[in-house]
């Protein structure tokens, strides 16, 4: 098969892939709601920053929290305890593999509980179910933190 024939045979596969990905990216950027800074968002971001500080972390930038979580918690508050969402994060409590070597590990207690704090502030109605799922996990302190 000549290179020209090969290129023409597979051209539409490449063009199709590019069109779909570019379309998705455009839709994504349009959909992405740049969260306006409101008093409510600022207040919730401050609460979360306080909680992080109380837990022994350096105080995070509240503007960053405002932009990423807004007033409703964004993706973090999107049905966190459903079976499919749980299945995804359970698979994410894993080693550093990106493909077939991905394997569950014993996750870090604080890292796994981090989302609970966000839910508590941004969508407390979803906290109990999520906590039930977390309580089923066996965890340990595998992340080194400053004393």
């Amino acid at each position: 098969m000549s290179p020209t024939r090969f290129a023409s045979e597979h051209k539409w596969v490449y063009v199709g892939a590019i069109v779909v990905l570019v379309a998705l990216a455009i839709i994504g950027v349009i959909q992405y709601e740049s969260v306006k800074s409101t008093n409510e968002a600022a207040e919730k971001a401050n609460k979360l920053a306080d909680a992080a500080e109380d837990a022994g972390y350096p105080r995070p930038d509240t503007e960053v929290i405002e932009r990423s979580l807004g007033t409703d918690g964004g993706i973090v508050c999107e049905d966190p305890a459903t079976a499919l969402r749980s299945a995804l994060w359970k698979i994410n409590v894993s080693n550093g593999a990106a493909f077939v070597g991905q394997r569950p590990v014993i996750g870090d207690t604080k890292a796994l509980r981090a989302e609970a704090k966000i839910l508590e502030i941004y969508c407390p109605d979803k906290l109990d179910k999520f906590k039930d799922r977390l309580d089923d996990l066996k965890t340990d302190d595998t992340v080194r933190r400053d004393a």
């Binding site: 992405y32 972390y57 990423s68 459903t82 499919l84 299945a87 994060w89 698979i91 990106a98």
Partner: protein, 492 residues
């Protein structure tokens, strides 16, 4: 490929016609750089970066130690074997140990992917949902449809030939991993350059991960498996112009890229996003959102999501094509699979194996997406499949040692220095990973350890031993391809 065209029981004229059709399609030529990109696409992506960023500077240790004891042996040994023998792991194990063990090796490499695709594609579906409507990520029907469409599109692309998928997977790596990875690292350096303190401490005493006994051991040893798949694309070695010289070069480039992709972006995220905001449970996109939000370019998050999708699908393509090709080749020469599964399409691709694999994957994926009890425990299959994959490495290292002993003068384009030592390290690492696979992870909670061991052990035995044994037991002499049978006949 062209030398083993048709099963022995086909009519002579049909055999000739099919053989001629396949021979009319010359083997596609890959460059060593393309093969390196395919190998990297099979192993590394940014998907793991937020997970590892939680460990801060210790992620360097968590990637480097496994690189020394597992990546290096795997890459070097497969470089030597591929530079001496075409065909990939089935051929190496067949030549070094025995043909049934060669079949076992490629079967294990192939079978584990069947359970892997649903979780990979569910991740892709959730990432696409993040782009268009995050609430879709909880919708079983949406997840099922996305998995089906993407998987079967992947089968269709793979069935169009090695070069089609080589191009797509290479571009998937470039667009989906190398470009966004570079952006993450550059932004991370800008962050530090602006005088900001790193969110994760970067002092020498944070280089080692926290030691908590078994949990830390599980984390470190399980990370060996981060490099699984480095040898998988060796099945395409005959597509290189000069395999003996080019494959080792391709392997070394892939090794460097994999290390950079794993370590640098994870570090960059840990500089900018505090560990308490890199929620393991909220997913990869939440961490990227927090990262980009710092730089006031939150709109980059959906673009990064699309890039991740491209990388994941590119990686999936390499996994669809590689193990199934190895399975085909040994089955045609030894008759381990029925003739229907040995047939090739006009591009010389094992389309019927891909379709059959697709039907099984479809059933598993539909169960994953639509039955909550299945998705809740699906993580168990990740452990079983990685256990099964470790059998491949045990066989590969054993075969490499034996081949050096039994065929020392066989021409090899590259010879590993201290092969026996390197293989011993690789074998011990694989055994350690196999043993640690029986330790229950977080997801198993406080349930009985014995039941976990029995479940994982049972899965390992059924998927990795009983099923391939059944294929060997029930094979028929007529299943061998005509040319393989004729080749043996003329030799005897």
């Amino acid at each position: 490929m062209a030398s083993m065209d048709v099963p022995a029981d086909m009519p002579k004229r049909a055999q000739t016609a099919q053989a001629a059709a396949v021979r009319a399609t010359p083997a596609p030529v890959l460059t060593w750089v393309t093969l390196a990109l395919m190998t990297t696409a099979s192993v590394a992506s940014l998907r793991a970066a937020p997970t590892m960023a939680v460990y801060g500077l210790a992620c360097v240790f968590l990637y480097l130690v496994p690189a020394i004891v597992f990546l290096l042996p795997t890459a070097l040994v497969s470089a030597e074997l591929a530079s001496g023998w075409n065909g990939g792991v089935y051929r190496w194990v067949s030549e070094g140990l025995s043909k049934p063990l060669g079949f076992l090796a490629v079967w294990c490499q192939f079978a584990m992917t069947i359970f892997y695709y649903p979780s990979l594609l569910a991740f892709v579906a959730s990432t696409i949902a993040y782009v268009i409507d995050p609430s879709l990520a909880s919708n079983g029907l949406y997840t099922a449809i996305v998995i089906m469409v993407l998987y079967w599109t992947g089968v269709w692309v793979s069935s169009r030939g090695t070069k089609a998928l080589a191009g797509l997977s290479s571009w998937g790596l470039i667009i989906g991993t190398l470009v966004p990875g570079t952006i993450l690292v550059v932004l991370g350096i800008v962050f530090l350059g602006q005088g900001n303190p790193s969110a994760a401490p970067m002092t020498a005493d944070h280089l080692l991960p926290q030691w908590t006994g078994l949990a830390s051991l599980v984390l470190i040893v399980n990370n060996f498996l981060s490099y699984s798949g480095m040898e998988m694309n060796a099945v395409h070695v005959s597509s290189l112009k000069d395999p003996a010289k080019e494959y080792p070069k391709s392997m070394f480039l892939a090794m460097g890229l994999v290390l950079l992709i794993f370590i640098l972006p994870a570090l960059a995220i840990s500089w900018v996003v505090p560990a308490d905001q890199t929620s393991l449970t909220a997913g990869v996109m939440q961490a990227f959102n927090a990262f980009f939000s710092y730089f006031h370019i939150g709109w980059m998050t959906p673009i990064a999501a699309v890039m991740l999708v491209a990388a994941s699908l590119g990686g999936m393509l390499t996994w669809l094509a590689g193990p199934s090709k190895g399975l085909l080749e040994i089955s045609r020469s030894e008759g381990y699979l029925p003739p229907y599964l040995q047939k090739l399409n006009k591009y010389g691709i094992q389309q019927n194996i891909l379709v059959t694999q697709g039907l099984v994957t479809t059933v598993i994926a539909l169960m994953y997406a639509l039955i909550p009890n299945v998705s809740s425990v699906y993580w168990i299959f990740s452990t079983i499949t990685t256990q099964v994959y470790l059998i491949v490495y045990l066989l590969m290292f054993a075969a490499a040692v034996r081949l050096r002993k039994t065929q020392p003068d066989h021409p090899r384009g590259y010879r590993v220095p201290a092969l026996r030592l390197i293989c011993t390290v690789g074998l011990l690492s694989s055994l350690a990973a196999l043993a640690i696979g029986f330790v229950p992870p977080s997801q198993f909670g406080g349930s009985s350890v014995l039941s976990y061991v029995l479940f994982i052990g049972g899965g390992l035995v059924v998927l990795g031993l009983l099923i391939p044994y059944a294929f060997l037991k029930f094979r028929k002499p007529g299943w061998r391809s005509a040319e393989a049978a004729a080749g043996e006949g003329s030799a005897s």
